[in-house]
């Protein structure tokens, strides 16, 4: 986890240096704002990973000598198949088209998004459809 943390903190440090340099060289606002945004993108997860990587024992996948036996067991939950991503996608599609063809498309759009949100939740509690 240490390398992952360094990668993200490295993103933050790089953009900090670039952003500060860019500001004092150009005094151009939009570019500086975007570069500082990228600092936050690296800093927020990166500092969490860094904090956490100091406190955890290295996982089997962090060690050169990690063996498959160490990693045996539950990895996580992987839903087999689900219709709800499709429903949510169509809902967002409808909402997006509402911006072009008329606000009435928001109604079916929101209906599909809410249905999908409920569907996702119920499905997670049940543990997948297959």
């Amino acid at each position: 986890m240490k390398i992952e943390a360094r990668l993200l903190v490295g993103v933050a440090l790089f953009f900090l240096v670039t952003g500060v340099g860019y500001w004092f060289w150009s005094y151009e606002q939009s570019g500086t704002v975007m570069l500082i945004g990228a600092v936050l993108l690296g800093l927020v997860p990166g500092s969490y990973y860094l904090w956490w990587s100091q406190r955890m024992t290295p996982r089997p996948e962090d060690r050169d000598d990690g063996t498959l036996a160490e990693g045996a067991g539950v990895i996580g939950a992987f839903p087999g198949s689900s219709i709800w991503p499709f429903v949510m996608g169509m809902g967002l599609f409808s909402c997006a088209l509402a911006a072009v063809f008329g606000l009435w498309l928001l109604a079916p759009g929101f209906a599909a998004v809410f249905a999908a949100a409920i569907g996702y939740t119920v499905e997670s509690r049940r543990g997948g459809t297959i």
Binding site: Y22, S30, G66
Partner: protein, 582 residues
């Protein structure tokens, strides 16, 4: 119900009780409901290829119009729509999604030894956003005012409601909104998969280079795409809600659009390129029968390219006169350094290897040549004096087509030829593949070399006609002939796919003697990918498993053994001559 995925112990395939048996849905239901990264990956690739063929067809129409000074009578509006949609489809809907939606979705979980992506349902959702975004963009052709016609960059104020009225432009904007979210979700998914779902022993320094490149690409996506989405939201509010973010009349700043767009747009070029660098880096070692040369150098080069690429956005805006020329010129020139490192490593990997020029390797060599040419002209354009002279001419058109065609098409289809046996368990015909390559290769140079000359003679981009008597006609005709050769080559690929579908040649699990974990799975892989895993002790675990006696040592394992790195896996006997079976 498959709620929990257990990682099987090594060598457990003889006892497959851990393999869940599903009532797998088929056809439409499978397409609609699958959350399997392999199905979604193939969905992405098929959709992206449809976009590629559509967009390529538009390019041929454009080339026909340009083949003679007065053209074939295409209306200017149609011409503008076609080049806008050609660029938009290629860049937003083919090149990116084919890599980080298609290939990465399929290959990355397998290369890290994971049963699926970290968030399978989010993954499926990403695909639906991508598909609906693609449909949204194409819907513009069905509206009465036609599709968007302001170029793939949609500069304000040209893209504002005064100059681009009608729903076609709005559909284009909304389409980028949808596909932008799709890309961001895929980026999050890839980062989480690579950080959390690696198999034991698969440390970050053993990740295959393709996976490394996808990780860096995912971070670039997270940096760049939100800015594009913001730019599009502003553009939409300017068009419909009466804001004046980009209009001078209301106190706005048109150049802000260019800053926002290119802050996305230049990293986007590397979002398109880095995955394909990764594809080439997977293929070249396999067909050179050597481990990749300079593994860590390649990783750091990838990170450097990505980092620098975010600091060069305004080199597209040199001629606006509002940007800091030395800063952007310096960083743009610097990108040549890590890219050169990559070239050095690719050539070093081939050096004294036992190269076999199968179709994927041929495409990779084509990629090296094409990208070299595109990259070198890029270094030229990074210099403001040259850029001022060639801005908005065909020199720039030829440059970026060589860069993007070189990466996304040469390396992209190398990846398709390379991993197709894994995806479908059957081979593509090697002879037809080579016919595809050579037709495309010749067509590629014939198309774009004349465009460099045209650009230096001053032919501007985005013109539908040009004056006769300037000597441009013959060069343009040559370019058109080349474009049709490229078109022909992709018909050959369709024939190849059809042949492999009707007369399947079984591929076996590991037809190329591959390196990564994906070659350890069956072809096509089972649900949740692996019935067993080999021990992972280097960046090429499958190869290690299949060649237990080989004398190669992975990097970072004992300084005393380092001289063996890159000595040639099988060719360590000292002959050193590369043999080819082309």
């Amino acid at each position: 119900m498959t709620l929990l995925q257990h990682r099987p112990p090594a060598g457990a395939s003889e006892h497959p009780e851990h393999v869940e048996h599903h009532d797998e849905p088929t056809f439409v239901v499978k397409w609609l409901t699958s959350t399997d990264h392999k199905v979604i990956g193939i969905n992405y690739m098929v959709t992206a290829l449809v976009m590629f063929y559509l967009s390529g067809f538009m390019a041929l129409l454009l080339r026909v119009q340009l083949s003679s000074p007065s053209g074939i009578g295409m209306s200017l509006q149609t011409y503008n729509e076609l080049f806008t949609m050609h660029g938009s489809l290629m860049l937003y809907l083919f090149a990116g999604p084919f890599a980080f939606g298609g290939l990465a979705n399929y290959i990355v979980p397998m290369q890290v030894g994971a049963p699926d992506m970290a968030f399978p349902r989010l993954n499926a959702f990403s695909y639906w956003l991508y598909l609906t975004g693609s449909i949204t963009m194409l819907l513009g052709f069905l509206t009465s005012t036609g599709a968007a016609a302001f170029g793939w960059v949609a500069y304000a104020p040209l893209s504002t409601s005064a100059y681009s009225p009608g729903p076609g432009a709005d559909l284009w904007i909304i389409s980028l909104f949808l596909t932008g979210f799709s890309a961001v979700f895929t980026g999050v998914n890839l980062v989480a998969t690579i950080f959390y779902l690696r198999a034991p022993g698969m440390t970050m320094w053993r990740l295959p280079i393709f996976t490394w490149n996808m990780l860096v690409t995912a971070l670039l996506i997270l940096i760049a795409f939100p800015v594009l989405t913001a730019a599009m939201v502003f553009l939409w509010t300017d068009r419909h809600l009466g804001t004046h973010i980009y209009s001078v009349a209301g106190g706005g700043v048109p150049v802000l659009y260019q800053n926002l767009f290119w802050f996305f747009g230049h990293p986007e070029v590397y979002i398109l390129a880095l995955p394909y660098f990764g594809v080439a880096t997977e293929i070249i070692p396999v067909f050179s029968r050597k481990p990749v040369f300079g593994y860590k150098g390649l990783v750091f080069a990838t990170i450097s390219i990505a980092a620098l690429s975010t600091g060069v956005w305004a080199h597209h805006m040199f001629t606006t006169g509002t940007v800091l020329l030395p800063f952007f010129s310096l960083l743009s020139l610097l990108i040549a350094v890590p890219t050169g490192v990559k070239f050095f490593n690719w050539i070093g990997t081939m050096w004294r290897g036992q190269i076999s020029f199968k179709t994927p390797m041929l495409f990779c060599v084509g990629f090296l040549l094409a990208f070299l040419m595109g990259g070198l002209t890029g270094v030229m354009l990074a210099s403001p004096p040259i850029d001022f002279a060639t801005h908005d001419t065909y020199f720039v058109v030829a440059h970026f087509h060589q860069v993007l065609f070189g990466t996304t098409v040469f390396a992209g289809f190398a990846g398709l030829y390379f991993w197709y046996p894994k995806m479908f368990g059957r081979m593509l015909h090697d002879g037809l593949g080579k016919a595809h390559f050579w037709t495309m290769f010749v067509g590629f140079w014939l198309t774009y070399l004349p465009q460099y000359v045209l650009g230096l003679h001053g032919m501007p981009r985005r013109v539908a006609t040009y004056p006769p008597g300037l000597g441009w006609a013959s060069l343009n005709m040559a370019s058109t002939v080349g474009a049709f050769m490229i078109g022909l080559s992709f018909l050959i690929m369709l024939v190849n796919l059809w042949v492999s579908w009707r007369n399947p040649v079984p591929a076996g699990d590991n037809p190329w003697d591959g390196h990564g974990l994906e070659w350890f799975a069956s072809s096509p892989p089972v649900h949740h990918n692996f019935e067993k895993l080999p021990p992972i002790r280097s960046e090429r675990p499958t190869w290690d498993y299949n060649h237990p006696d080989a004398r190669t040592i992975a990097h970072g394992h004992g300084a005393a053994d380092r001289e063996l790195v890159g000595a040639g896996a099988r060719g360590a006997s000292g002959t050193g001559d590369s043999t080819t079976d082309a």
